[in-house]
Symmetry: C3
Subunit: 323 residues, 3 copies
C-alpha cells in the first residue's frame, strides 16, 4: 500500500482486518519496523481519537510521530493552482508539501470540507494536492468526503463482534446505516466512507435509511438498499450504525431535525439485538439516547479503541512498502 | 497509590518526599519502570510548569507522554449527566473517558473552576467524572479546588530547605500562608491544597493570614491558626507562602486589592529570615515585589524546579501499582 | 559554541557548513550525543519549518525535544524590568527562564518583532532576557532582528550548489539579495541575517537591491554593494535571494508594493542562470512568480530541507560544549 485515502488503496480488506486484530493482541511486535522513520500528522481541523490513535499506532511501530496543528501553530495554506496570494493564505501546498516530504517518511493529513461548494469538496483538492507534491505516502486522517481509518475500524469491530457471537452458518449480517438528528450541518464523510467500505467488503446485507432528500452520493452507496422508513430498515438488523450528515444534493443543508429519527431502545426492539455503532463524538440525547449509549448494545467504546489497531495496520503496510 | 487528586490518596507524605528527593539525585534510575506505558496529559486549561514538569517526569520514567489541549486541539466536553447536548459541548466525558482509558495507562487532567457556582466547583465534577469513566489511574494536574502536585512540591521544597539549614532540635518550622493582591479573581486551589497538605503533614506551626471575608473552606484549613493581621502572622515565620485567591463564601469575588498586603523586605524583617514561596506564575509588584523575588529569601525557582521530582514520585508510585 | 543567536556566535562558518552537510549524509551518526538531554522549543510566534526541522534535528541527535507554544498553551510573558504587572502579561521572563533552565539542557526560542518601535525591537530584549536568566545555552529560532538558523541553511545551500556545479577557478559567486513586494509589513530579520552571514562568510560578491527608502540597518549590510536598480543588480548573478521586508528607518512601514519588483523569468534572463532562493513561506505571484518557483532555477525546497542539517550542526556544537 502506498497511500491510504479510500478503500481503493486496499488490496484486501480482510487481510488488513486480520493484521489489525493481530496488533491488538501484540501491540509491540513490529516495534523495529518503523525505527528511524518519522510520520508527520498534519491537522487542518480538530481531532481527538484520530490524532491520539494514529500517534499511538506510530509509536507502537517504533516511528517518531510529530503532530502539527497547521492553522494554529503555523499558517493558512493555499491549495488553488495559479493563485495570486494577496489574501489570507500564507503558503502554497506546492511549497509546503515537498518540504514535508523531505522532513518525513509518511505524511498523514486531516482536512474538513467547507460544506459550501459541493464540486470543490468532492474534488478532494486538498489531499490530492498533498499527494501530488509531497512525494511520500499520504494517509487520510479524514478528508472532505471520506474517513477511511474510521471505516476500517468499523469493519474491524464488526468482524470482532461476529467472531465473538457468530451468526447462523451462511447468514450474512444485516448492517443498517441510519441518519440521526444533529444541531449543525455535518460532512457526509463518515457515511460515505462507511458505505464505500461495507459495499467493498461485500459480506453484509447493507441498508441505508434517512429522511427524504438526504440521499448520499451514489458512487459510495450503490449496492445498498435505501429507504426512508427507519423502522422497516431496522428490522432484524445485526448492526446499526448511527450518524448524522447534511444534505448532498442541495449541498450542506439541514432539512429536518425530526427527533423521531433518534435511536431509542424501543426502536431497537425490532432488531436482532443489534450492536449500535457511532464514530464519535456523539451529541447525547440529540443523535443517540443515553439509554442506548449506556446500554449493553452499544459498542462505541470498543469501536473507538480499535482506531489504534486500524491505524497501526495501515502504517505497517505502508512501512513495508518503503523497505 | 491508584489516583492522585488530593492528599487523601497519599499513604505517607514523608515517603513520597524522600522518593522525590531521591529522583532529584538520580533522575533516570527508574527509566525501565514505565517502558511500554503511556500517559495522556489532558489540558482543559493553560499550563506551563505543570505540563512541562509532568511530561519530563514521565519521560524520566521511560513512559511516552502525549499532551492534548482539549479545547484547542479537540472540542468542548460535557460533564453533566443526562445532558441534552444541543448546545456548545460536542462530546460527553462518559464517551471520551473510557476511550482515553483504552488509549493510555495513566490519565492526567487539568481543569479550572468556573468561579461562578461554588457548589458546582466544589463538587469536583470534572475530575470525578474522569475517574468514574476512564477506568485507569487519574492524576490531577490542578482541579477546581485543589492542586496536589503543587502542594507536594511545596512540602518537598520545605523539607529540602530544612535539611540544608536545620532549625534548633525540637523546634517546628512556622509556616505562614499569606493572601496577596491580584488583578483578577483567582481559584482557591493552591491555597486550599497547601493548607490541606501542611495540616496532613503535621510537622509545622501553621498560620494563615488574609483580609476579612477571604476565609477559605474549613475542610482544608482546620487546624491552622487564622488571622487578619498579616504583621502578627509573619512574626518569626520560617516560610512565607504568598498566594492570591478570590472569596470563598460570597464566591469568586475580589473584595479588596489593598497593596498593603503585598510582601516586601520591610514586612519580611519580622520573620526568622523566612524563605518566600509562590507557586508561580506571579504578577511582579502586584502579588510580590521585585526586591523579594530577586532577593536571597526567595526559593520560588527551586520550588518550581522540584515540580519534576514531585510528578516523578507520584507517577512512579502509580506505575508500581499497575505491575 | 554556547548560544546561537547570530553569526557572532560561530567560530567558523565553513566548519559548521561541513558538519551540516555531513549530517545530511549520515543523520543518525551522533544519536548518542544528546542521550538524556532535553531541548525546550518555545514559540512566542507561529512556525512551521523552524519548528519541525529543529525538532527533527534534536531527535536525530538523540535528544528529547519538547515544543511549547507559549501564548496558546501557556500565557503572555513580561520582559520589561521593574514592570508593575497589573496588565495582560501573567509571568515575567525573570521567573519563567530560570525554571526552563532547570527543566531543559538547551532552550530554543522564537520571538517576532512588534514592528512598532525600532529601538525596542533592535534591542533584542526578549532573547537577551532569556539568555540572561535561563542559565543554559539559548538558540534563536528567529528573533526580532535576526534569523541565524535560516542564514546558516542559506550558506549551506549555496555551498552545496557550488560544489555540484563549480564556478571557474578563482571566481567568486555573485549573490544578490532582492526586495520583493508583499501585502503585509514584514520583519527585516531574514534580510538582516542573510546580509550579516554573507558578509561574515566573505566568499561572495554581494549585492543588495531594493526600492528607495528600504535601506536595511548598516550594521548588517556594511560591505555589500547597495543599489535601487534591480536589473543592474541581477546582471550575472549566480544566486538571487528574494525577500520582502518593511522599512527600517521610518520603521515597519510599506512604502511601495510595485509589482515590477517581483522576480520573473524575464528578469532572470540577465543572470548567470542564477539559482533562486527564498526562506519560505512565500506568497506566490506576489513575492515570487509561479514560473520561477515551479522552474528549474528555484532551489527553495532544497534550502528548506537543509534546515534540519543546519539545526543539527548547531545543536551538536552546543551539546559538545556541555560535555
Amino acid at each position: 500500500m502506498k497511500n491510504f485515502t479510500s478503500v481503493h488503496d486496499v488490496p484486501s480488506i480482510d487481510e488488513l482486518v486480520i493484521k489489525a486484530l493481530s496488533y491488538k493482541t501484540t501491540p509491540f511486535i513490529d516495534k523495529s519496523l518503523g525505527a528511524g522513520k518519522r510520520i508527520g500528522l498534519l491537522f487542518l481541523n480538530p481531532s481527538m481519537r484520530t490524532r491520539l490513535s494514529t500517534q499511538i499506532a506510530a509509536q507502537n511501530l517504533g516511528m517518531e510521530p510529530i503532530v502539527f496543528n497547521v492553522g494554529q501553530e503555523g499558517w493558512a495554506l493555499e491549495f488553488e493552482d495559479e493563485a495570486i496570494m494577496s489574501g489570507s493564505t500564507v503558503e502554497h501546498v506546492k511549497d509546503a508539501a515537498p518540504i514535508m516530504g523531505n522532513y518525513f517518511d509518511i505524511l498523514a493529513i486531516r482536512t474538513f470540507p467547507s460544506l459550501k461548494n459541493r464540486e470543490d469538496d468532492y474534488s478532494e483538492l486538498y489531499i490530492k494536492q498533498f499527494i501530488k507534491y509531497a512525494g511520500i505516502p499520504v494517509v487520510s486522517l479524514e478528508s472532505a468526503t471520506l474517513h477511511p481509518l474510521q471505516s476500517l475500524t468499523d469493519i474491524i469491530t464488526i468482524t470482532e463482534s461476529l467472531k465473538k457471537k457468530p451468526l447462523p452458518a451462511g447468514k450474512k449480517p444485516k448492517i443498517v446505516l441510519t441518519w440521526a438528528p444533529h444541531v449543525k450541518p455535518l460532512p457526509q464523510c463518515v457515511a460515505n466512507s462507511f458505505s464505500q467500505w461495507v459495499n467493498a467488503w461485500g459480506q453484509a446485507d447493507f441498508v441505508i435509511t434517512h429522511p427524504e432528500d438526504y440521499e448520499l452520493d451514489e458512487q459510495f452507496t450503490k449496492g445498498a438498499t435505501i429507504t426512508h422508513n427507519q423502522d422497516e430498515a431496522l428490522k432484524d438488523a445485526d448492526f446499526v450504525y448511527v450518524k448524522n450528515w447534511s444534505t448532498f444534493k442541495d449541498y450542506g443543508k439541514i432539512y429536518t431535525n425530526d427527533p423521531e429519527w433518534m435511536l431509542t431502545n424501543k426502536k431497537l426492539a425490532v432488531t436482532n439485538n443489534a450492536k449500535v455503532m457511532h464514530c464519535l463524538p456523539v451529541r447525547r440525547n440529540v443523535e443517540l439516547s443515553d439509554e442506548i449509549l449506556d446500554g449493553l448494545n452499544s459498542i462505541v467504546t470498543q469501536e473507538a479503541s480499535n482506531r489504534v489497531w486500524a491505524a497501526q495496520a495501515v502504517l505497517s503496510e505502508i512501512l513495508e512498502s518503503l523497505k
